[in-house]
């Protein structure tokens, strides 16, 4: 396993400053943002953010607190309307789409502070994610007609299969709010996966985890990418996770990408060290 983890893909430059793994070359990038930016009043929170993500790429976004990382997630999901720039999801422009529509187009996320539907069961949380794929038969559902049972059985089984990924089937009937912390974080990822995304955004997935849990999370992130063949973009402060799992790392400072490259390149980039430690740190 550790040997496998060290095997990095060859990165290729696609229209500077973007890099993608060689294996995704020749296929359309799944997520493209060009000159994306947003101002809050006079304050520029994000300025000229660019990304092109390969279809199976795992990418990390790091940067000091307040650099604009979560703001970028909010821009990519249309929670904030960008002041400038475009977002293309699988080639389609997301401008003017509602948040729910952007989710249907193929982008899903988890949250820095867990935002599960805590009074609903674990299974119901996943079923909410499946919602847009289920047909609505209001009366059939209420009258419990055969068509209701068929669809219900089908999606409950799907939900449980999804729970199996993290060995959480036994928690299916548990209220989500009663799960242990780590399990809540895993459920958030599963709920997002249920919406069948092409790009999964993880906002500080390792927050509050101990090193052993972080190690497990790293394996899970890779497993999800391999099984679902999707792209994963994550924000993280835990450098062991970022350096361990990401193929491309972008460094954000004051709303701008100041460096981009492989984890090894980033670790040794003086601009990055300066952003984190100040000018003194370079020497």
């Amino acid at each position: 396993m550790p040997a496998d983890k060290k095997r990095r893909p060859v990165l290729v430059q696609v229209e500077t400053p973007n890099l993608i793994p060689e294996r995704d070359l020749g296929k359309m990038p799944v997520l493209q943002a060009e000159h994306l930016g947003i101002d809050f009043g006079g304050l520029t929170a994000v300025d000229d953010f660019n990304i092109a993500m390969g279809r199976t790429e795992i990418s990390g976004l790091i940067g000091p607190n307040g650099a604009g990382k979560t703001t970028i997630f909010n821009l990519l999901t249309n929670v904030y309307r960008p002041t400038r720039g475009t977002v293309l999801l699988d080639g389609y422009d997301t401008a003017g789409k509602s948040v729910a529509e952007v989710n249907h187009m193929g982008i899903a996320r988890t949250f820095q502070n867990i935002r599960l539907f805590s009074k609903m069961t674990v299974e119901e949380n996943v079923l909410v994610g499946f919602g847009s794929q289920m047909k609505t038969h209001l009366f059939a559902d209420m009258l419990r007609l055969p068509s209701h049972w068929r669809q219900e059985a089908e999606f409950r089984e799907k939900a449980r299969e999804l729970l199996d990924i993290f060995d959480m089937r036994r928690f299916a009937e548990t209220e989500a709010g009663n799960l242990p912390y780590g399990a809540q974080r895993r459920l958030e990822i599963l709920r997002a996966l249920a919406t069948s995304p092409k790009v999964l955004l993880l906002d500080e997935p390792a927050a509050g985890m101990n090193p052993a849990e972080t190690e497990e999370l790293m394996e899970n992130i890779q497993r999800i990418r391999d099984e679902f063949q999707i792209a994963i973009l994550l924000i993280e402060h835990d450098m062991s996770l970022v350096m361990g799992v990401c193929e491309v790392v972008g460094v954000l400072d004051y709303g701008r990408i100041i460096a981009k490259g492989t984890p090894e390149e980033i670790q040794n980039d003086p601009k990055v060290i300066e952003a984190y430690l100040g000018k003194q740190g370079v020497k």
Binding site: M142, A192, T195
Partner: protein
């Protein structure tokens, strides 16, 4: 016999309050809005019944259908016109808007129909049904049965259907629900539709019992139902039903004791006591603020 009659009276009045309280509680559950216009939707439903039967001379079935349909549409319309534009505004703004809508409907009805009470014709010629030697008021029995069925259907809707899951998800975290692909606006409209349809049914049952429509009839009815919803724990479906029955029985008991002038006071006293002992209501969850 006398006791049985009073129990039935209590059940009847309590059921009406419960139906109205269900509408209150559903809307509160999803957007944390105390929809003060909810009682006035019932008033509009009562006027529709009167209009269809007394003015247009159409059969009671048509009146029932049009009342429920009219209330449903009115509820959705109120949300779209008055509340939806304020979705991201402070909660006080939307609360004040609800009071405004309530006044608008009351004064609008007074303008259109006049301030005097309109007599709503009987929906059916059957006035009593015989049950094991006892003769029971048909309106009372119908009210209890309809409310019981409505409660079961509503519970199934919320617990078992996809829309119900969407409603619960939106009620917990609107932002996260959006990001999981739920169309929040449709879900809220649907909630208003269901709550207002219940108000429409409530209007029919109320006019069956009291045969009158007045512009301000929704005011006290709405306030009592609000008390019922808070008593039971606002946001909770079983809470609304239990709260409604409690308020209904309290009124009937006080009236039976010959103290009918005190019945409103007793209801509000009940509210004060419950709020002191159990601020979240009978079925309410204790809210613990995160530190």
């Amino acid at each position: 016999m006398q006791v049985l009659m009073q129990v039935l009276n209590g059940l009847q009045l309590g059921s009406i309050y419960a139906l109205v309280a269900l509408g209150y509680t559903m809307v509160y559950g999803i957007i944390l809005l105390l929809n003060f216009a909810h009682g006035d939707i019932i008033m509009v439903g009562a006027y529709i019944s009167w209009l269809v039967m007394a003015q247009l001379g159409m059969p009671p079935v048509v009146a029932m259908i049009l009342s429920v349909l009219g209330c449903t549409l009115l509820g959705v319309l109120i949300d779209k016109v008055a509340y939806a534009p304020l979705r991201n505004a402070p909660r006080l703004s939307i609360l004040i808007t609800a009071i405004g809508v309530s006044y608008f409907l009351e004064n609008g009805a007074q303008l259109v129909f006049g301030a005097d009470a309109k007599v709503v014709p009987a929906f059916t010629d059957v006035s009593t049904i015989q049950l094991g030697g006892a003769s029971l008021s048909f309106a009372a029995v119908a009210t209890v049965v309809v409310t019981a069925v409505a409660t079961v259907v509503l519970t199934l809707l919320v617990q078992k259907t996809k829309l119900g899951k969407a409603m619960r998800a939106v009620s917990e975290d609107m932002g996260a629900a959006r990001l999981m692909g739920i169309n929040v606006n449709n879900t809220i409209s649907f909630t208003f539709a269901v709550g207002s349809a219940l108000a429409g049914i409530g209007a029919i049952l109320y006019t069956m019992a009291y045969t009158q429509a007045t512009p301000t009839m929704g005011m006290m009815l709405g306030t009592k139902a609000f008390v019922a919803a808070v008593l039971g724990g606002i946001g909770s479906i079983p809470g609304a039903v239990v709260g409604g029955l409690l308020v209904g029985f309290a009124e009937v008991i006080v009236t039976a004791l010959g103290l009918s002038v005190w019945k409103d006071a007793v209801v509000f006293l009940l509210l004060i006591i419950v709020l002191i002992v159990r601020p979240t209501g009978i079925f309410g969850r204790t809210m613990s603020e995160k530190v």
